[in-house]
Subunit: 510 residues, 2 copies
């Protein structure tokens, strides 16, 4: 290992990360409180910084150094540390990817996705896909070109080349297999609980929950489960997200609806889950692969685990119910714990992914995953997309969107060039169930601890098996090493069956 | 005018401003809500950006282009616009200044002032000047060296070279003359009102004013006087300030004390005054001298005008009193307007500049102005500073600090390298009174408009005569052109005499 060369590439990568976190701070500000008038100049600032970041990341000397370090490593592997290997492999992977995309194409994609998001927003408001059609066509065309360039000379498909950016090394075939394993039992389970006599009372959650009370409540819950407010903040925005502005500065954002309690609380828990992953990364390797999140699927597994396995669980509400009642008094005075918990686990097919329950959620993803592959390989024409979308909702979820706004215009992702991103949500759901089961086995009395408000054992387990690993293990290996087997659909299915059958009183089917 | 060369320097200057506003956004975030843990990395981000800004601003090709443009202009002046001339002169002035300071010295000053502020903070908390002594000595030594380099070959003193950064072209002799004109009548006036039988009831302002109510109140007042919330925000911090993050993004910050109403309200009005100046600058010249504030003295004239001439005025409380009563009900139910207004204008020598009234404030400044000159020219040794400070407070304000914390450790400025900065506060006070008088003459019924809550005529007048001028006029010229004569002490003295004698019932002296 040529250490001065290794230091050189690390320094460059850290410099790019420094600028990245600067740009992300500007975007955080833009999405929390920037005055309206600030938008135009802010866009210029961010675009300037992104240009500098791209220059650093595609620098030829940097790439050469990485390639040489990689070659040296082959002969010299035993003397390299896991962190050094992960660093070189991770940075080289990114460099190769970036270097395959000419600046012109990167700029075209950047412009097309800015336009795309604006047109999508306008089209959705006007409920008219035709306003978005050309912009989407352009995004798909450019992303296809990017995918082709990245896939060239490899054994990956064009779609896989795009997917790889979010979920390194993921393959369509294995995703298809997992999704197939998931789909059939999921559809059966959904039908089963939808047919149950016992149904939850949704109206418990649509009472008046004043927003300031929800804010303080979410703050308390995020803190209780382990989000470190000395190294992070919780704010409000229109589309919840999590962003990391430094090794000890993680910002999470939620949104609140005074007539829908779960929105704010579960968004806060979801983002806190992302945030605790970021806070659990190794600060000494900040900006480098050993201190960076592994994949979007693994990231999502952390947010979904805290939101669902913990937050929608029986034990959690044993702990939190009395507090909730007191906090929002007198709104919940007449409500029983089981009824509130049941309402929070209502299963109901809908047209809106971001509001979907745990079971139907994955059906939304599978539809998008299938359709975006067809868009990229050209087997589905843009003009046929709205109908294809509606057909799939009808066949998969049993409800047909009555408008573009409720249909093909639901998600911002494609307009923003995020093609190959959707499957990471379901990977996250599968991994959250599998990791939670393994944690429960290791910890033994996990549910008991949760019912007492002690989340430390779970957080420590995740820290040890997931967070601290950074990119020193692949996503597949993290799951394998933590749970003893590769990612599979069984855990999510079993988890949903057990919980839902108990709540809906259909245990007899067990 | 070589237009391509002109465009080149403008582009460089705008690029530096872009990075400057990025760094300022990070600092705004640091001072409003950054989590504690973010500090270390944030310092690295800001220092990286400051380095890039310094590189751009001291770039040799940029300096050469400016020098050539400046030479061409001499022969070619009639064909240049006012904006072009101001741009070249302003940028060249800054370039020359920056180019005279070797990077090493700039870095030393940067380090010394970071250490200085930390030591100052610790020393103040421990009430022990000796903990700060060495750090201050180092800052003074480095700033003296910087001043010597800037002054070399000019007819400026070393102190004037430092002063020039904040108040271009200001001279000690003329400041001394103005301060002398101000001092004697001011001291007499203070004695007069301190001896009056009628005294205000300070306790009206120390009742319980809940902070959320103060926040919404300050927001309303800032909006009412003309701060544009589409192009700015008002937030909370520990030391109020105003910062501009883009041509249409100005952030002002106040702080609130639930047992001291004036703190939050007048800080908000003060910062809104700064903010309205920034919002009144020409956005088409953002980042260049025609779209930049003229001097710190002129900046301060705007904040003090809104805080004092307007905010502590009779007419303003005719407008605001009933609203205030309703907003904070029932806290002020038993209070009369005249009594509240009188309390807000209490004159009382104190040891704390930032809480000083309008009259004694300037005595605090004169003490600092005198002492910092002696520190720079070496006639006052660091070890003699605490005693010299206390002696001056005794002779000038009639009260002697009983500790370092109440004495020489009062202000952060010197620790931060801000030497030559203090006089701009009094320049601002003098200019605010003089500009207000001129505005009142031009507008005619200014006080009547204010008593009706109509601040538009005043803001428009200031926009026309001050804000929109940017650096196309010097500070002196702005005052001269707006008021018909150079800056002088008379207006402030007359304003204070008239107001205070009326309130304190000493009109007979008139």
């Amino acid at each position: 290992m040529n250490l001065s060369k290794f230091d050189f590439v690390c320094e460059k990568a850290r410099e790019a990360m420094l600028l990245q976190t600067v740009a992300d701070t500007l975007e955080w500000d833009e999405r929390t409180g920037m005055p309206l008038g600030g938008g135009e100049y802010r866009a210029r600032q961010v675009s300037y910084l992104r240009g500098k970041i791209h220059d650093l990341r595609t620098d030829a000397a940097y790439g050469e150094a990485l390639k040489q370090l990689d070659q040296d490593m082959v002969s010299d592997a035993p003397s390299s540390t896991t962190e050094q290997i992960a660093t070189i492999r991770g940075l080289l992977r990114n460099w190769k990817r970036d270097a395959r995309l000419p600046s012109e194409l990167v700029e075209q994609i950047s412009t097309a996705t800015v336009v795309g998001q604006q047109r999508w927003d306008a089209a959705r408001k006007a409920n008219d896909f035709s306003m978005f059609r050309d912009a989407l066509d352009e995004v798909v065309r450019l992303k296809r070109e990017a995918g082709q360039r990245i896939a060239e000379g490899t054994d990956r498909s064009v779609y896989e080349a795009l997917l790889d950016e979010y979920e390194p090394d993921a393959r369509v075939e294995s995703l298809n297999r997992m999704f197939r394993d998931l789909r059939k039992p999921l559809v059966e389970l959904i039908e089963e609980v939808r047919g149950a006599t016992k149904q939850p009372d949704r109206s418990l959650l649509t009472r008046h929950y004043p927003i300031p009370l929800q804010q303080s409540f979410s703050h308390r819950v995020a803190e209780a489960i382990g989000f470190d407010f000395n190294r992070g903040r919780l704010d409000e925005t229109s589309h919840p997200f999590c962003t990391t502005l430094g090794p000890s500065d993680c910002r999470i954002l939620s949104r609140y609806d005074e007539a829908w309690l779960p929105a704010g609380l579960f968004a806060a828990m979801h983002e806190a889950g992302h945030g605790m992953y970021e806070q659990g990364l190794r600060t000494d390797w900040f900006g480098l692969p050993p201190g960076s999140y592994c994949s979007l699927g693994i990231h999502e597994s952390q947010s979904r685990l805290w939101e669902n396995q913990v937050g929608r669980g029986h034990a959690f509400w044993q702990w939190l119910f009395d507090d909730t009642k007191a906090h929002f008094a007198p709104v919940l005075d007449d409500v029983k714990r089981e009824d509130l918990h049941f309402a929070m686990n209502q299963i109901e097919p809908s047209l809106i992914r971001v509001e979907a329950d745990e079971a139907t959620y994955n059906l939304h993803i599978i539809i998008r995953f299938d359709l975006e592959q067809q868009l990229i390989d050209g087997s589905l024409a843009i003009d046929d997309l709205p109908a294809a979308w509606n057909d799939r909702y009808e066949s998969d979820l049993g409800i047909r969107p009555q408008s573009d706004a409720q249909g093909v215009l639901q998600d911002v992702h494609w307009s923003a060039g995020l093609i190959g991103y959707f499957p990471t949500y379901t990977i996250g759901n599968l991994a959250s169930a599998q990791l939670y089961d393994a944690a429960a086995l290791d910890i033994g009395d996990l549910e008991l601890e949760i019912s007492r408000g002690n989340f430390q054992p779970l957080l420590e387990w995740l820290g040890k098996h997931v967070h601290s690993r950074g990119q020193c293990e692949s996503g597949d290996d993290i799951v394998k090493n933590a749970t003893g087997k590769p990612l599979e659909a069984t855990h999510l299915i079993n988890y949903l069956r057990t919980k839902l059958r108990r709540l809906y009183g259909t245990e007899a089917n067990d």
